[in-house]
Subunit: 330 residues, 2 copies
Amino acid sequence: MKKIAIDAMGGDYAPKAIVEGVNQAISDFSDIEVQLYGDQKKIEKYLTVTERVSIIHTEEKINSDDEPAKAVRRKKQSSMVLGAKAVKDGVAQAFISAGNTGALLAAGLFVVGRIKGVDRPGLMSTMPTLDGVGFDMLDLGANAENTASHLHQYAILGSFYAKNVRGIEVPRVGLLNNGTEETKGDSLHKEAYELLAAEPSINFIGNIEARDLMSSVADVVVTDGFTGNAVLKTMEGTAMSIMGSLKSSIKSGGVKAKLGALLLKDSLYQLKDSMDYSSAGGAVLFGLKAPIVKCHGSSDSKAVYSTLKQVRTMLETQVVDQLVDAFTDE
Amino acid sequence: MKKIAIDAMGGDYAPKAIVEGVNQAISDFSDIEVQLYGDQKKIEKYLTVTERVSIIHTEEKINSDDEPAKAVRRKKQSSMVLGAKAVKDGVAQAFISAGNTGALLAAGLFVVGRIKGVDRPGLMSTMPTLDGVGFDMLDLGANAENTASHLHQYAILGSFYAKNVRGIEVPRVGLLNNGTEETKGDSLHKEAYELLAAEPSINFIGNIEARDLMSSVADVVVTDGFTGNAVLKTMEGTAMSIMGSLKSSIKSGGVKAKLGALLLKDSLYQLKDSMDYSSAGGAVLFGLKAPIVKCHGSSDSKAVYSTLKQVRTMLETQVVDQLVDAFTDE
C-alpha cells in the first residue's frame, strides 16, 4: 500500500478540488491510501470515498501570501507542515500540496530533508511539446542561483525521472543555453557543459535553445533556477496572452467570427489541451528524501488526480530510493 | 538628409526583400538617402527608385553560418563590413543588416565602436504586448554575461529609446526578475535593483516577472543577456508552436474546421499581427556610436521598410547623440 499525504487546504479551489481529485484516485488505484490534512468538516463535505482514506484535522493553514520560511517555522499545526512532518515520521511516503510554493519548498528542505549528496533540490515539471510527449525541465526556480555542479546533479535527477516515471529508456539530456554550439554560454553554462559531457550515466546531447523546447529536442532539460523560472513564466505568459488575444478577437468579431469559433471548437479545445501539462502531474521538488510535489495553485480536481497518479508511479518505481543509492555510490 | 547604409545581401530573402523595402522607404520619406552594399546586378534587378539611392558594389558577403568575429576580420570587402565602415568613416549615419547577428555585433563593436562610458552595448527590440503598445527589452543576448553596472546602463539606454523613438514621456523601467518583491533574485539582480532604485534619471518601477511581459507592465525591461536571450527565444518558440499547432489542428479537422477557420480568418490574422513585432523595426545594438540595427533573418520587405523608418526616427531625434552627451556628463 502506498501512503500519500495531501494538503487539503492549499490552492485556489481547496478543499473541493483536492478532495474530488482524491475521490477519483482512490476509486481508480486500489494500491494507494490517502491522508487528507485540513479542516475535517470542510473536507467531509466533498469526500465520497470511505476506504483507504483518512482525515487529519487541523484548522491552521499557510496562506498564499505568507512569508514562506517564517510560515513554516511558525505555523507548526498547518496542513502543509503536518503533511510534510508525516513524511519525515514515516507515516506517509509522499506529500502533495497546491498551496504556497515557497512554503512547500521550505517545508520540503527543512522538514523532509535532502538526499545525501544532492546539494540543491530543484523544481521539476513535465512541460508540453507539440507531439504530446513532453520534457522534464529543472530547476524551474527552487533556487535563485546555481553552480555548475548543481546543474550536473539536475541532469542525473531528471534522467532518473524521465526513465522511471515517464518510461523513456535512454532520455536525451539537453543543457538550455544561448546557442547550440558547445562553446556557448556564460561561465556557469560552459562549466556545466563540461561536467555533463563527462558524465557517463546520462545521455547528454549538448546545448539546446529555448526556441526549440516545444519541438521535443530533448527529454530532460537542465537549467539554472533563475533562467528556468524566467523560461517557465514566459511560456505561461505567452500562451495565456495568445489564447486571451484570440478569445477577445472572436468576441469582438461579430456573428461571423463567433460562428467560425463554434465550428472550430474541437481544434481550439485540442490546442488548449496541448498546452495544458497538468495531466503529467505537478512540479516535483526533486532531490528530497521523498516525493514532495507541488500542484499548480489553480489546480482543478483533474490536476489533483493526475498528481496523485504521478506520485503513485514515483513510489511504484522507487525513483527516489534509486536516487538515494545513486548519490550514495558516488 | 539622413544617410542610411544597408546590407543588401543579408537575410533569407536578400537582396529582393531588402531592395523592395528600400524602394518603399525612399518613396515615403523624402529626407533619407540609402546606400545599398552588395552585388550591383542583383540589386538593380529589384531597384525601382532612382533618386537618393546608391549602390556600392561588392561580391563578398558574410554567410549566416560564418564564425562571426573571424568573418568580420577576414571578409573586409563583405557588404556587412563595408556598410559598418561607411558609418565609421562618416559616409553614412546608420547601418542596417538582416545578416549574421554575431557578425553584425562584432562589426558594430570593432568597426563602429562603443559610446564612451557604455561598457557593453546591448541588443534591444520593441516586443509585442496585447494592447499593441509594446515594450523595449535589453539585453536580448549581445552578451552572454553581464554585471549589475551593465544593467544599470541598459535602463538608461532603454529609457532614452522609449522616450525619443516611441514617444513615451516617462517610460516605466522594470527589472526582469524571478519575483516582484524587491528582495528577489540572484546576487546580480539584487545588486542591479539597488543601482536602478538609486538612479534619478529613470522611472524605475521595480521587479517584474516574465509572465507579465505581454501585459504591458513596463515600457522598458532590463535584463542580462543570458536571461534576455532565453526569454526572447521562449516567446518566439511558444508563439510559433501554438500557431503551428492550431494550423495543423485545422488542417486535420475536416470540412467543419476548415469552414470555421475561414469564418475566423480576420481574428486569426489579427492574432498573427499582434504577435508580429517587426512593424516596430529591428533589434538595435544599442550603446554604439551610431544606430546599428539588425533585421530578423526572415525579414520581408515590410520589415525592412519598418526598420528604415525606425532608423530614420533614431536619426531625427538624435537619440544616440543624446546618449553620448548623457554618458559624457556622468
